[in-house]
């Protein structure tokens, strides 16, 4: 399959909103996608990411806003006339058609000459390594193979934009990693522009050029994987990006660029995200891998004496939960062989302890995906 030159330079979402009855599913999404980019829409279930994708595809009409492909307005077009390709979570293959017929379907809809249909179909099937299965029905294929068919069906049309709706969430962990590489490879080699919806932060970080984090229908942050990983814009994003330790505290005083925070007489120094005034309620967040374990009695900045309570074996490292003298629960990862009951000192580099303003009463939810990548139930999305 030839690498397609993108036929547009940018796609612009302008205040895209969608309501269901009285419920706002997506509010004012502004986003400009450059041709050739890989964008991931990321967020917990019900955050509006699938709504955004379906609005983009034309499967859901917008409540307000507009979508522009360069100077062409596309949100008023029906899905079949937008020229986008889409890969669905449960593949949505036509069960009564062979692999070949599935892939050829879109070309047939465009009334292309028979020869061209055959040539392009064969090429697309080769691209996803399914040559031997071309005449089987989808029901005879494994999940991974079905996913490849779905991808071939979407890219055979050389769409200006490929939309992917959690395409890997129905696969097992090993296959998911394989297909991840495959998707990135196709994106690069075909010069596609991709919008990819997922709730798996690891998947989004590894695939995308830019991430859009959504929460309750609103954009929380748009940025590169690195920015999101190291510098979440607020504690909700941090919560979602793997900051398992989030402690509600109160700001005390500025210490140069840093800020001192306090809870129940227990003090820490961290790096403020945004403006924080003394006395303000804050959320202090740190990733488990940024908590260092040392022998008791150590006295660096941000040292907390603590007792190890729970230990999980995770290969080279251990994931542990400790409780400080002040009663704060700390998640950490370490290669030290700690055991429940051990007394240790926990040290956090002030640069790695992010201090977010905390304006809501909400509690952090913890990450949706654990370290092994086991997906938690996301009702309504599983087919």
């Amino acid at each position: 399959m030839r690498v397609t030159a993108p036929d547009f330079s940018q796609l612009r979402l302008d205040g895209v909103s969608r309501r269901f009855g009285s419920q706002d599913a997506l509010t004012g999404l502004d986003l400009t996608i450059q041709a050739g980019e890989f964008i991931a829409l990321l967020g917990p279930s019900g955050c509006g990411k699938s709504t955004a994708l379906n609005c983009l595809a034309g499967l859901l009409p917008l409540t307000a806003g507009s979508i522009w492909q360069d100077e062409r307005r596309v949100d008023t077009l029906p899905p079949e006339r937008r020229g986008f390709g889409m890969v669905f979570q449960n593949y949505a293959l036509f069960p009564h058609m062979s692999v070949r017929a599935n892939v050829a379907f879109g070309l047939r809809m465009r009334r292309l000459p028979r020869d061209e249909i055959r040539r392009r179909t064969t090429e697309a099937i080769r691209l996803v390594h399914l040559e031997e299965h071309a005449d089987k029905l989808p029901g005879q294929l494994s999940g991974g193979q079905q996913q490849r068919v779905a991808i071939a069906r979407a890219v055979v049309l050389e769409p200006s934009l490929v939309l992917m709706d959690e395409p890997l969430s129905n696969l097992d962990a090993k296959l998911r990693l394989e297909m991840r590489t495959e998707i990135r490879r196709l994106h690069q080699s075909l010069g596609l522009t991709t919008v990819y919806v997922t709730h798996d932060q690891e998947e989004a970080l590894s695939l995308a050029d830019r991430l859009v984090v959504l929460r309750a229908g609103r954009v929380q942050q748009i940025g590169s994987p690195q920015t999101l990983h190291t510098r979440p814009a607020n504690w909700h994003v941090a919560d979602f990006m793997g900051y398992r330790n989030l402690w509600p505290m109160r700001a005390q005083s500025a210490q140069g660029a840093l800020v001192e925070v306090e809870a129940d007489g227990f003090r820490l120094v961290g790096d403020p995200v945004g403006d924080i005034a003394p006395g303000e309620a804050v959320m202090a967040g740190v990733r488990p891998e940024d908590v260092r374990v040392d022998d008791p009695g150590e006295a660096a900045t941000n040292t907390m004496p603590a007792e190890i309570e729970v230990v999980e074996y995770q290969g080279r490292e251990l994931a542990a939960e400790a409780r400080t003298a002040a009663g704060i629960r700390v998640h950490l990862r370490t290669d030290r062989r700690v055991a429940p009951g051990d007394m240790v000192a926990l040290i956090i580099d002030p640069q790695r302890l992010l201090i977010f303003p905390n304006d809501s009463d909400e509690q952090p939810s913890g990450p949706l995906v654990d370290e092994v990548g086991t997906r938690l139930e996301e009702p309504g999305l599983v087919g």
Partner: protein
């Protein structure tokens, strides 16, 4: 329920004793239940069998079996009741009803299965009301209206009247078939550039074929067997087989009992042939009614 007593107080509660305990109690209940079922079937056999035997019987008074056997009642019945014509009408009516009710019912079932819109619940109730009402209740006003427009007494009136319970029935049987199809398959087709027409013709129609076949055969069986509505709207040359059978029965004494029986057997065998065909495509429960809970609002 029978016999609850006799559960021996032995055994600790738990999984272990559950099995043997159940056996001990279940036995008399099982006998009772199987007995009832067998009794029911024996009676059923007697009902169908006595019609069959009588239709072949030469004369049958006060004996276990007729005095001799003959097939002449069949040719009698065929000629007396102009059965050729009646069967032709029956087939015409049934096929027209099947075709029309699919044409009307399937698109409606699609919308009701897929979409939510204001007033959906009300629409659902109105569509199902004809099934929940005794045919005589709406049949009499319906027949009056059809007579007013000069449609009753003809084939068209019989077809229209039979549509009333058939369309809801198609909607009822098709809805689960449509719900089974993932809406994302339709979305996928549209993303591939298929317009609404192509989605219906190339994707949905082939996938719904088994469902349409099932509901077609169910409507066929029900229409051939539908008595009340046809009875109220049929004229002399638009009677279906059941109605003709009813008339010949209520005129008993004029016709020989056996030739009425012969006609009944012809009707029975027609229904059984349909039934055998039907059961290739649907399970027995569907013949009765497809029970579906009310859709969530």
């Amino acid at each position: 329920m029978a016999t609850v007593t006799g559960i021996p107080g032995t055994g600790v509660p738990g999984v272990g004793p559950a099995r043997p305990r159940r056996r001990l109690v279940a036995r008399p209940a099982a006998w009772l239940i199987w007995g009832a079922v067998i009794f029911f079937f024996l009676n059923l056999l007697g009902i169908v069998g006595s019609v069959l035997v009588s239709s072949f019987g030469r004369q049958w008074f006060d004996t276990w079996l007729p005095e001799g056997f003959t097939a002449t009642w069949y040719s009698d019945a065929w000629n007396q009741f102009t059965l050729g014509q009646v069967i032709l009408v029956t087939l015409e009516v049934s096929l027209l009803v099947v075709g029309l009710s699919l044409l009307i019912g399937v698109p409606a079932a699609y919308v009701l299965a897929r979409r939510s819109f204001p007033g959906k619940r009300a629409a659902y109730v109105v569509f199902l009301l004809p099934i929940l009402m005794p045919p005589i209740t709406y049949g009499i006003p319906l027949a009056t209206v059809l007579y007013k427009f000069g449609l009753a007494g003809h084939l068209s009136g019989v077809v229209l009247a039979n549509l009333v319970p058939s369309v809801p029935f198609v909607i009822l049987t098709m809805t689960p078939f449509i719900e089974q199809i993932d809406p994302r398959i339709e979305s996928a087709a549209r993303m591939c550039g298929a317009g609404l027409r192509s989605v219906f013709l190339r994707v949905l129609a082939p996938l719904l074929l088994p469902g349409m076949l099932a509901s077609a055969i169910l409507v066929l069986v029900r229409t051939v067997g539908m008595f009340e509505l046809t009875f109220l709207t049929a004229g002399p040359d638009s009677q279906t087989l059941v109605v003709a059978l009813y008339y010949s029965m209520s005129a008993a004494g004029i016709r020989a009992q056996q030739s009425v029986d012969a006609m009944a057997v012809i009707y029975t065998s027609m229904m059984l042939v349909l039934l055998v065909i039907a059961l290739r495509y649907v399970n027995p429960t569907q013949l009765v009614a497809r029970v579906k809970e009310e859709p969530e609002p």
